[in-house]
């Protein structure tokens, strides 16, 4: 594992807050965008896994069901990620590739991006700073093309 450089200030509450988790699916420029909001941990990872399986089981936008699925998982709204969340993203990557599709991640929170570096998963995923970058970026599945350093 690699070590981090610098990180963004987090939000830490002194009270016990209600935790919100939400998943939203939309279509954009021929990509399916799965936006995750909340804490991506052992409690919520199965929901993401099920959503990815559901997306891969439905027709691609603008296609006839034969078009390889192109999926963006947008982590912009994720305020906590641990190895359970990383694991479900690895599983999503495997499923999308098996379906002949392509997966890109979106993360702009430094804490989240640091976790990809620390686990060397920045060499596995294509991580983009915005959904725009993800859906309009160059074709190909090369990890981190303009991603974490962008």
């Amino acid at each position: 594992m690699r070590r981090r450089k610098k990180r963004r200030s987090p939000v830490v509450s002194g009270t016990v807050d209600a935790v919100v988790f939400d998943l939203q699916v939309s279509e954009r420029a021929g990509w399916t965008v799965l936006a995750v909001v909340g804490e991506l941990d052992l409690a919520n990872a199965p929901k993401v896994r099920q959503s990815v399986i559901h997306v891969l089981g439905t027709a691609a936008p603008g296609g006839d069901g034969q078009v390889p699925r192109r999926l963006v998982i947008d982590l912009t709204g994720v305020d906590f990620l641990d190895s359970s969340g990383l694991g479900v993203l690895i599983g999503a990557h495997r499923r999308v590739r098996a379906a002949g599709g392509e997966l890109r991640l979106v993360a702009n929170d430094q804490r989240i991006r640091d976790l990809f570096r620390e686990t060397d998963l920045d060499r596995v995923f294509t991580v983009c700073p915005t959904v725009d970058d993800a859906v309009h970026g160059p074709a190909g599945d090369a990890p981190l093309a303009g991603g974490l350093d962008g």
């Binding site: 594992m1 200030s9 016990v16 641990d82 686990t119 060397d120």
Partner: protein, 145 residues
């Protein structure tokens, strides 16, 4: 500061509570930088996740105890479970990122993350359960920040 103790059911929906309580305990000490509290949240989540997973395979009715002790330079968190234990030396590491089978490994990142983000990690495990001791210093002790 006295000891803060939290006992939770071995269920995933209590993970967020565990993180929040430990983070709030650390935030009592103003010298703790925010990024260190972030590290603490991750390592506590990993240790508690492992405890929950162990109980799921062993006895889900048992509870997990989390103890926090804070001073002006560090926080020590101990996570105890009473599941069947494991040998941390025999846990397989995930393949290299470029390995063909890397995507087959959804698990195995928790222990390395704990060892990377905590300044001290000690795992004692037996058939009677597992004790994970994690120490996070206000400034990191073993890596450049």
């Amino acid at each position: 500061m006295g000891e803060v103790r939290l006992e939770i059911p071995a269920r995933a929906d209590y993970l967020g509570l565990a993180r929040q309580v430990v983070a709030a305990a650390a935030a009592v000490e103003p010298r703790f930088r925010d990024e260190r509290i972030d590290d603490l949240r991750v390592v506590v989540s990993e240790a508690t996740t492992n405890a929950i997973a162990a109980h799921a395979a062993f006895d889900a009715d048992e509870r997990i105890l989390i103890r926090c002790n804070l001073d002006d330079e560090r926080i020590e968190v101990v996570v105890l479970d009473r599941a069947g234990g494991f040998d941390p030396q025999t846990v397989d590491a995930a393949p290299e990122p470029t390995a063909a089978d890397r995507l087959e490994w959804e698990h195995g990142l928790g222990l390395p993350l704990m060892r990377t983000l905590a300044d001290e990690t000690d795992i004692q495990s037996s058939s009677g359960g597992t004790t994970v001791r994690l120490v996070v210093y206000t400034p990191p002790q073993h890596r450049d920040a």
